[in-house]
Every structure is written in structure tokens, then in C-alpha cells.
């Protein structure tokens, strides 16, 4: 009987826990979505606008790639995000987009175009380029040609290097033999010196990110404003669920300066300091490594929704967004009562600390010393914090030694102080006055 009860209890418990024990498989819903490859101020990001979302957001006057397709979407509760399953269903809709500007009511027809986009080496975001139609194919061909040339050169280099290596080893063997026989090796040494090591070819420099394979999409390059879009099928009917609002927006302010702050003890957890008026409070336990960057200010909601259509943001606020590192920057550091120091960007290496602590430390990179052949983990401006200072002021200087507007920041080092408790006396002062007033009133009453 006891055994039966035990089995029954366990079975009952398992039945209750069934739902908890089972992995949650998200429900996949077939929907018509707008897929968006949007320019985000520095790169291109991919998102999609599902049926329940009425609006999608794009940066004005920049090329963005839109497609309309049927796919499966599902909600992933761990990341609280909607994802698309293009592998299961990816049905492109055939037709065109009708775009109406809210202000002028002007209607425009947009057809699909073949496109490619790529990034060429440059300092600013304008280094992203778009090519459409035949130009797209030409650009891809150009890249392929450059790439194939490079591959050929690499193969050639490997062949030559192999010959070089073989000859070098042969000569080394000859030297060893001659030395064992006690003969002159100067002739062979001369040949070794004259051996020229082949140079490794450099990859194509023109492209930072090469042209993507050609795709077909509706290219939206719209001025700032509000628009309404709908998808018109080949038979002239409006595709159900395709009507959306499009908001195109621009940055409010540009070329602000923000900082990426890497504390010496947490180099994997950098923090950003974006607000030009902000003060950086630190506890001074470790040195700081800074990386200044150029930032633009966008509407918080519009930008977040442009990057990910199911995200949120505050429409009333504007947020600074990192665009790129400040080129050829220097940091001017002013300690209290001291003359300004100029700090240059330096390479650093992150080293694991030996021992049971298993920490790490950031040390200067020594290319000809212990780090020979390696590459630095971190290139940043080192701000030493000794623990004695209370405040530091810093600014970013451009290549002409001019202070960049909006780059000034203050660092305050907060030390634990026993004086903090003194403030409690101030807090309790009103209560003290109250007691004094009440007692003196009572005394006065008694006298009367």
C-alpha cells in the first residue's frame, strides 16, 4: 500500500510539474512582414516590422532596403524579442509599394531594384555606398576581380615562400655539413644573406566591407517626414496587412564627443559616458582606459525602433549614439592645481595574472619584447589614477591640438570618508529645534 502511495504521489507530482519541466517551444505565427535593412548612422542593421506594429522608422536621406514577405515569426521570452524564421518560410511578395507623403499627399510608386552596399575605407559614415542595377553587378565584379587578384598573389606568395624555405633549409644543412668537415662556410653564408624572403600580399585596401551579393528590394531614400505605405499586388489589389506608417528622421545634433571607459579591473565591461555635461564618478581603485568617440544625437524611440522594430524608447528624449572613434585624437588631462598633460593613444595587452586569484592586468604592449608577434588587445588612452587625486578634468584634442567642443569632462574620485556621518547631525537638526521650541513653549506656559 505504501509503495503504491509513493508511486502515486511521484506520478502526481510529475504531472503537476509537467509544464514546468517541458522546454517552452515558442508558437510560430505566419505573418506578412516588412524586412528592413536600415542605415543606423554608422552601419546597416536588419530588423522586421510584423503585422501588429503599425510603423517602421528610417533615417532620412539615406538608402534603406525594404522587402515584403511572408514568414514565420515567434516571440522569444528570454530576450523579450520577436524573431523571424526565414528558413521555414520566406515568400517574397510580387508587386510594388505605393508611398504617400502625409504632408503633401503626394503618391509615389516604388519598384524593386537590384542592389548591393559596401563600405570603403574612410573616416566618416559617408563611407557606406549603395549601387543599384547594372552598377551593383559592376561593383561586385570589381570586388571579385580585386579579391581574385589578391588570392592569386597569396597563392604565388605561398609558392615563393615554400621555395625560399626549402632553399634556406638546404643552405642550413650545407653549413652544418661544412662545419663538421671543418671547411669554409663564408660562401654559403653570403648566399643566405642574399636570399630574399617573399613579401606577404596586402588584402584589397579599397573596401572595408566588400559589396554584398546582389539582392532585390525596395530602396527607400526619403526626406524627413511621415509617410504611409501599402503593398500593391500584380493584380492591382492592396495586400492585406501591408498598410504601414513610415517615419523618417534625422539627427538633432551631430559630432558630439562621448567616451568609452574601460576600468583596469573590468576591461570586458566598458561603460559609455555620452552626455556632454556628465560627470564621471569613480572609486579610484584602478586606472582608466578611455576611447573617445564621435556621437550623433537621435530621438530615443525612433532610433531604437529603427534598429529593432519591437523595441521601446522614449519619444520625449534624445540619445547620443556612438558613430566612430575620434581620428588622431589626443587627450588633455588637467589634474587639480597642475599643468595640463597630453596623453597619447597607446597599445596595451591584457595579461592573465598567475596564481589562484585568476585576475588579469593591462600592461603596455611591447612589440619587440615579450609580446613579439602578437597584436595588442586594447588601444586606448591610459589615465592613471593614483588614489590621491580628488578630481581630474579632461578634454579631447584634434590633430591640430584644438580642444573639440563638447569633449570636456570631469572625473570625480569618491573616497570613503568618515565625514559622511556628520551629515546626519544636519538631518536631525530640525528635530532638535523642534524639541527646543516645544520645551521652551512648555516652560513659558508653566511660568504663565
Amino acid at each position: 500500500m505504501k509503495k503504491f502511495m509513493l508511486i502515486f504521489s511521484i506520478s502526481f507530482l510529475l504531472l503537476l510539474l509537467e509544464k514546468e519541466l517541458k522546454a517552452d517551444v515558442p508558437e510560430k505565427i505566419e505573418q506578412l512582414v516588412y524586412t528592413i535593412i536600415a542605415f543606423n548612422g554608422k552601419d546597416y542593421t536588419h530588423t522586421f516590422c510584423r503585422e501588429n506594429e503599425g510603423t517602421f522608422y528610417l533615417i532620412a536621406d539615406k538608402g534603406n532596403f525594404i522587402t515584403v514577405r511572408k514568414t514565420f515569426i515567434y516571440y522569444w521570452p528570454i530576450t523579450k524579442q520577436w524573431n523571424a524564421e526565414y528558413d521555414l518560410l520566406n515568400e517574397m511578395m510580387d508587386g510594388h509599394i505605393e508611398l504617400r507623403e502625409k504632408k503633401s499627399n503626394e503618391i509615389k510608386k516604388i519598384d524593386t531594384s537590384v542592389y548591393t552596399y559596401f563600405n570603403i575605407r574612410g573616416e566618416y559614415e559617408s563611407s557606406w555606398k549603395i549601387r543599384t542595377g547594372a552598377d551593383a553587378y559592376r561593383e561586385i565584379e570589381n570586388w571579385k576581380k580585386k579579391y581574385n587578384d589578391y588570392i592569386r598573389k597569396v597563392e604565388d606568395y605561398h609558392d615563393k615562400f615554400e621555395i625560399y624555405r626549402k632553399r634556406f633549409n638546404e643552405l642550413l644543412k650545407i653549413i652544418t655539413d661544412l662545419q663538421s668537415e671543418g671547411e669554409d662556410i663564408s660562401k654559403v653564408l653570403k648566399e643566405i644573406d642574399s636570399l630574399e624572403q617573399p613579401k606577404e600580399p596586402v588584402p584589397p585596401q579599397y573596401y572595408n566591407i566588400p559589396p554584398a551579393s546582389p539582392e532585390e528590394a525596395f530602396i527607400f531614400n526619403l526626406p524627413e517626414g511621415e509617410y504611409f505605405v501599402k503593398f500593391i499586388m500584380k493584380d492591382g489589389t492592396v495586400l492585406e496587412g501591408s498598410e504601414k506608417k513610415v517615419i523618417t528622421f534625422t539627427r538633432r545634433r551631430k559630432n558630439g564627443i562621448g567616451f568609452e571607459i574601460i576600468p583596469g579591473d573590468k576591461w570586458t565591461k566598458p561603460v559609455q559616458n555620452k552626455n556632454p555635461r556628465s560627470v564621471l564618478y569613480i572609486n579610484g581603485s584602478t586606472d582608466l582606459f578611455l576611447r573617445p568617440f564621435i556621437q550623433d544625437e537621435y530621438n530615443d524611440l525612433y532610433y531604437n525602433k529603427m534598429v529593432r522594430n519591437d523595441s521601446t524608447g522614449n519619444i520625449n528624449l534624445f540619445n547620443w549614439l556612438k558613430i566612430q572613434q575620434v581620428p588622431d585624437a589626443k587627450i588633455g588631462l588637467l589634474e587639480l592645481n597642475e599643468r595640463a598633460k597630453v596623453i597619447m593613444e597607446e597599445p596595451f595587452m591584457v595579461e592573465q595574472v598567475k596564481g589562484s586569484g585568476l585576475g588579469y592586468r593591462i600592461v603596455p604592449f611591447e612589440p619587440e619584447g615579450k609580446h613579439e608577434g602578437g597584436r595588442p588587445n586594447l588601444i586606448a588612452f591610459h589615465i592613471p589614477i593614483t588614489g590621491n587625486e580628488k578630481r581630474l578634468k579632461l578634454c579631447v584634442k584634434d590633430r591640430n591640438d584644438n580642444i573639440i567642443t563638447g569633449s570636456e569632462r570631469q572625473i570625480r574620485i569618491i573616497h570613503e570618508t568618515g565625514f559622511r556621518k556628520i551629515l546626519l547631525i544636519y538631518v536631525l537638526l530640525p528635530v532638535g529645534i523642534m524639541i527646543f521650541v516645544l520645551i521652551s513653549r512648555r516652560k513659558k506656559k508653566n511660568v504663565c
Binding site: 574620485i413 544636519y426 530640525p430
Partner: protein, 289 residues
């Protein structure tokens, strides 16, 4: 007119004296300062090797999570960008503001109910003198409290190496006028209501309504909630001091001092209009309970 001014002066003095000898103001001040002290300590405990890490302080962590959930992470970043003082100022100000406003609303209603106001009318005084004396008392004690709070924050900043940034000073300015308009709403609520309890309920209702509307229009909410609050806000915002506070603080943030002054002027105008309405209501309605 001189009689009336004299009456205002005399009743105000009496009100100020009453406040000085009653424990309420001291308790509210101590409560406000203690809140400030606690929040400042929490902020200091949240300072890490690379900046602010609110997860180090459980209460701050909760506050920051709530604020980020309601208004977005950008709001939190901006709120604490200069330091803790803007946030702490607004929180520390609440106990004293509520104490003065509710005390005035309740006392006004109560004294009207017991016929004290009617009795005063037989002299050179009238209802307007009566509520203006309350108003003057509230404004005076608000100035005293703001001064106390500023001194406390200044000492905290010096001792703890913190910065009292420009946004703090702008907030200080705006919060004073915000309180003034709050007191004006309190007086109007007292004048319109029949007894003390109704006055307090009406005043609380007005404040809560404005706060909810402001939060609704500023917070990250669903589209339909946003649209609804925006529609209501469009009609109501012109009489909401929080709307002008929002404009003023945004203007200060972006260095538009003309707009900041304009928003302060708007709050002053609202307060003046409310007091004027209270004056006419009393004139028409009379002061009988």
C-alpha cells in the same frame, strides 16, 4: 487697501508663528532631509571603478529599474549624468511640499467650517486676505526649506566630492515655482469645497491627476495609452504646472534660457490666475460655512 495689507501682514505673522511652534514643519523637514541623506548615501555606495553601478545598492537598483521601465534607460542616464542631486532634490522636496499644501488646505477648510473666516470679515479683513496669508506662509517656509536643502546638498557635495551641476540649480528654481503653483491650486480647492475633508480630497485629486497625466505622456506606454493621455494632455496641459516644469527642464538641458524663463513665467501666471479665481469665488460664494 492699507487696512487689507495690514490684515494680510497680521494674519501671515500669526500663521508663521503657528507653524514655528508646531512640530509638523520640523518633522517634514527632517523627513525630507533624511530621504536626501539616504539617497545620497545610496548613490555614493553605487560608485564603482568604472562609474555608476546601481546594482551595488538594492534600493537604488529598484529605483533605477522602475524608472528605466517607465521612462527608458536614456531618462535614467540623463537624470544621474551630473550626479545624484536632481533626483534627490525632487524626492526630498515632496514631504515638505505635501505638508504645507495639505496643512493649508485642511486648515482653510476647517477654519471656514467653524466660522473663523466669517468672524474675520467683520474687521478690515476679507477672504482674500485670509488665503493670501496662508499663501505667504507657505511660500516663506518653502524658501526656508529650499535654502536648508541647498545648504545640505552643498555640504554633502563638499564632503563627498560630488558636483552640484547646473541642472541642479535650474531644478531648484523650477521646483520653487512648481510649489507656488501647487499652493495656489490648494487654495482654489479650499475655496471651492464645503469642508476640510472635501478640500483635501479635491486638492489631492488635482495633484494626482496632473501627475498621472504627466507620467502618462512622458512614460513609455502602449500606443493607445499614449494617444489617450496625449489627447487629454492637449486640453489640460496649459493649466498643468508639470507641463511647464517639463518644458523648463528640457530648455535648461539644451541651454535655451529664454524658454526656461518663459516656462517659469507661465507657472507664475497660472498661480496668479488661480489666486484671482479664488478671490472671485470667495466674493461670489461668501465665507459662510
Amino acid at each position: 487697501m492699507n487696512y487689507k495689507l495690514n490684515a494680510i501682514k497680521t494674519i501671515s505673522k500669526r500663521r508663521i508663528f503657528e507653524t514655528v511652534i508646531s512640530p509638523g514643519f520640523y518633522v517634514a523637514t527632517a523627513a525630507g532631509l533624511f530621504l536626501g541623506y539616504y539617497l545620497l548615501s545610496g548613490f555614493l555606495d553605487s560608485v564603482d571603478s568604472g562609474g555608476l553601478n546601481f546594482s551595488l545598492h538594492p534600493v537604488y537598483n529598484q529605483i533605477v529599474e522602475t524608472l528605466s521601465g517607465a521612462f527608458g534607460i536614456t531618462f535614467v542616464e540623463k537624470l544621474f549624468s551630473e550626479g545624484p542631486f536632481v533626483f534627490v532634490l525632487f524626492v526630498s522636496f515632496i514631504p515638505v511640499f505635501l505638508y504645507h499644501a495639505i496643512n493649508t488646505v485642511f486648515k482653510f477648510g476647517f477654519e471656514k467650517n467653524v466660522g473663523a473666516l466669517e468672524l474675520l470679515m467683520y474687521g478690515p479683513s476679507d477672504g482674500t486676505c485670509f488665503f493670501l496669508s496662508f499663501f505667504i506662509k507657505d511660500v516663506l517656509f518653502t524658501v526656508i526649506y529650499i535654502f536648508t536643502l541647498t545648504l545640505f546638498f552643498y555640504l554633502s557635495a563638499v564632503i563627498n566630492n560630488l558636483v552640484l551641476g547646473p541642472m541642479f540649480y535650474f531644478s531648484l528654481l523650477i521646483i520653487f515655482f512648481l510649489a507656488v503653483s501647487g499652493y495656489s491650486y490648494g487654495i482654489l480647492a479650499s475655496v471651492l469645497s464645503g469642508n476640510a475633508a472635501t478640500s483635501v480630497a479635491l486638492f489631492s485629486g488635482i495633484v494626482v491627476f496632473f501627475v498621472i497625466l504627466q507620467i502618462g505622456s512622458f512614460a513609455i506606454t502602449r500606443d493607445y495609452v499614449k494617444n489617450l493621455t496625449n489627447v487629454i494632455m492637449w486640453f489640460i496641459k496649459w493649466i498643468s504646472p508639470f507641463f511647464y516644469m517639463d518644458i523648463g527642464l528640457s530648455a535648461a538641458l539644451y541651454g535655451n534660457f529664454f524658454l526656461l524663463l518663459l516656462s517659469i513665467l507661465s507657472i507664475i501666471i497660472i498661480s496668479a490666475v488661480l489666486l484671482l479665481i479664488s478671490h472671485f469665488v470667495l466674493k461670489v460664494k461668501g465665507v459662510r460655512p
